[in-house]
């Protein structure tokens, strides 16, 4: 009883400081991680530089066939849009469809061949300098290796990426 009383009185300043800080919970951390993963799979970071461009009519457009490739009549020739609209499916739809079909026929599908989780424990790296990071940030769970890196982390990325 006595001890508890004492710690309430004095306590560590560091712990008191930590309590004040905003802490991101597990689900949010996971969401954050998913966002980072999505960024790693993205094609571009920037926006389309030609997005605001209005094409003049005289310039042949990308879809136009400049040379006649085949003996087909013009009626039959198809533009790229034709295929895009006919086979418009995003990746997730394709995977889901494949899954359903695979379940029905009992064959191995795309999802089944994904590699399993490793039994080895994950290593942790400092998010700032890239060397081994032994400490984790209280608010966001990112790793860091030294006070110097911690400060950089706090100043820059700590609460970024949060949804």
């Amino acid at each position: 009883m006595m001890k508890a009383f004492k710690s309430q009185l004095r306590g560590s300043n560091r712990i008191k400081e930590c309590d004040k800080r905003r802490v991101i919970d597990e689900t949010q951390r996971r969401r954050r991680h998913r966002k980072i993963m999505e960024l790693l799979e993205s094609d571009n970071y920037q926006d389309d530089p030609h997005a605001d461009l209005v094409m003049s009519k005289k310039i042949p457009k990308f879809e136009d066939n400049l040379e006649h490739r085949s003996t087909r009549t013009k009626k039959k020739e198809r533009t790229a849009e034709y295929y895009q609209t006919k086979f418009r499916k995003n990746f997730q739809q394709l995977v889901d469809e494949d899954r359903v079909e695979a379940d029905m026929t009992g064959r191995v599908s795309y999802i089944d061949i994904a590699a399993e989780e490793s039994k080895l424990p994950p290593r942790h790296f400092c998010a700032v300098c890239g060397f081994f990071g032994h400490y984790s940030c209280v608010s966001c769970g990112m790793r860091y290796c030294s006070i110097k890196c911690m400060e950089t982390h706090m100043d820059t990325r700590c609460l970024k990426w949060t949804a």
Binding site: D98, I113, P122, F131
Partner: protein, 519 residues
């Protein structure tokens, strides 16, 4: 057994006619494999018989074709009589400097300023989803200036488990738009296996490690066929590595998030796979005077310097002083390390070497030793310096000491599958896989409409062999255990024969008419 039966003729032709090259593998090393030993004498007996009666069957095909490896990052394409493939980026790019122009594929060479390129990439995780991007690229690739189809049979690659609607769309585009006479869609790893078998002059079971742009596949091949239970896919590829490098450089030094093109070159030029990760990481911590890992990379300014390069440590050249210099330290090896430990960036998945070992041990015990002896790595991401050695060391440490481990990396892992396309065109049963070339267009379309390609391959083989023998027995050399499938084939053949008979009759009548007219 079925595999052995159906490919006897294939084995023969290679034994007799191909120049057998053996490297890395001494013939002795196959003593362990009882199956091969037992098969050898039997096969040679068959050979003499075969060569006498069905001479046609054994002859190596001299078919020429267009080989088209449609990778997610680069297209490898050329005719089979050429030495090397043309490598064309499989994307459309938009540059900041030149507005109103799109750079399709290799047109990017004409672009002066490659900074801040905006990419339109047709595939998503390796599977084509954006047809409005893919179609113009293919239009460019098959245009007169690059590689027109010219009635050659086409061999095209598609990723493992290519989705059905993608397959349909590919068929539609190629048969109807480009009017190819005949086409074979095949997994790139299948071609790599063929090339590997041809190179070593034997057909051992092997594991293919294909680390490309979108993902890494580990696929065991037993008796020339994929063993699906042993396949592993790791969602780490060159794209992810480049994006990760971009991310950490942007955080630590310059903002380069928009410079995918440049950073990809930085990755190719400076990154390597560490042989001893912990000690390398320690060495990287040292101050720059003692540090042997640190490199200064001169970034291109697209004015004086078109492509970046590593600056020499001793002499700092004059041009470089005005340029931006990127200092790379532990980034050089922590980035490719993700291939071996995806958990480093939080991807819950095993690394390449673990995947290979797991894949080997998920195969039937009989093949495991041979699989460990024949590991082949292909794909652009295996080109990191030290990749092969690291993979070998890690696999070695996880496999019983008495087993032999061999990791083979071809000189050019990127175009290895394309080379495999050359091999498949030489294989004697290729004509069975492609629709026969004479009535190509009609049959090609008809076969396409049947939409059961595997069945068609077997069917055509049967038809050809029947024509050779002039007999009509069915099913035996097909090795079809499934009676319903056999029935379907029977019906198809009957249909085909009836059609042929009708045609013959018509031709005969026409000839008779002609003769009468002449008389």
């Amino acid at each position: 057994m079925s595999y052995m039966d159906s490919s006897q003729s294939g084995d023969e032709s290679e034994d007799n006619q191909c120049e057998i090259k053996r490297f890395r593998h001494e013939p002795k090393s196959y003593n362990l494999n009882r199956r091969y030993e037992r098969q050898r004498p039997r096969r040679s007996r068959l050979a003499s018989r075969d060569a006498g009666s069905y001479n046609l069957k054994v002859v190596e095909s001299n078919l020429q074709g267009l080989i088209f490896d449609n990778g997610a990052h680069t297209i490898k394409i050329n005719y089979s009589f050429e030495e090397k493939p043309k490598i064309i980026p499989n994307c459309i790019m938009k540059a900041k400097s030149e507005r109103k122009r799109l750079f399709i594929g290799s047109q990017i060479d004409e672009c002066r300023d490659c900074s801040g390129l905006f990419y339109l990439i047709p595939s998503e995780r390796g599977y084509i989803t954006k047809w409005d991007v893919q179609k113009p690229i293919w239009d460019f690739v098959f245009s007169k200036s690059v590689c027109p189809v010219n009635n050659y049979p086409l061999i095209m690659t598609q990723p493992l488990f290519n989705f059905k609607s993608i397959q349909d769309c590919i068929d539609e585009i190629f048969f109807e738009e480009y009017e190819v006479s005949s086409m074979l869609r095949i997994n790139p790893t299948d071609l790599a296996v063929m090339k590997y078998h041809q190179e070593i002059g034997a057909k051992p079971p092997c594991v293919i490690v294909d680390s490309g742009y979108s993902f890494t596949h580990v696929i065991p091949y037993l008796e020339g066929k994929k063993y699906l239970k042993g396949v592993r896919r790791i969602n780490v590829g060159g794209k992810l590595l480049t994006n990760h490098l971009k991310d950490i450089i942007s955080y630590r030094q310059y903002h380069v998030m928009e410079e995918t093109f440049v950073i990809n070159q930085v990755k190719e030029d400076t990154c390597y796979v560490s042989q001893d990760f912990k000690s390398d990481l320690k060495a990287a911590e040292l101050p720059s005077s003692k540090n042997h890992i640190i490199r200064n990379y001169v970034l291109p300014d697209f004015n004086n310097i078109r492509r970046g390069y590593i600056q020499d440590a001793d002499k700092k050249d004059e041009i470089a002083e005005n340029c931006q210099i990127l200092r790379l330290n532990n980034e050089r090896f922590t980035v490719p390390e993700i291939l071996f430990h995806p958990s480093d960036i939080g991807i819950k998945s095993i690394g390449i070497s673990e995947a290979v070992v797991k894949s080997i041990f998920s195969c039937p015990q009989y093949y495991q030793k041979d699989l460990a002896k024949n590991i082949v790595c292909i794909g652009g991401s295996t080109k990191f310096v030290g990749f092969r050695d690291r993979l070998y060391n890690e696999i070695r440490s996880m496999i019983p000491a008495s087993w032999e481990v061999n990791v083979y990396q071809p000189d050019d892992p990127i175009s290895y599958t394309w080379m495999g396309g050359k091999v498949i065109l030489k294989s004697p049963d290729i004509k069975a896989k492609l629709p026969p070339s004479k009535k190509n267009l009609m049959i090609g379309l008809k076969w396409k409409s049947m939409k059961i390609h595997n069945l068609n391959a077997k069917l055509s083989k049967l038809v050809i062999s029947n024509m050779l023998k002039n007999t009509t027995y069915l099913g035996r050399d097909l090795c079809l255990k499934n009676p319903t499938k056999r029935l379907i084939i029977k019906q198809k053949i009957l249909k085909w024969q009836i059609q042929e008979n009708v045609k013959k009759k018509l031709m005969f009548q026409a000839k008779m008419m002609q003769k009468r007219c002449q008389v």
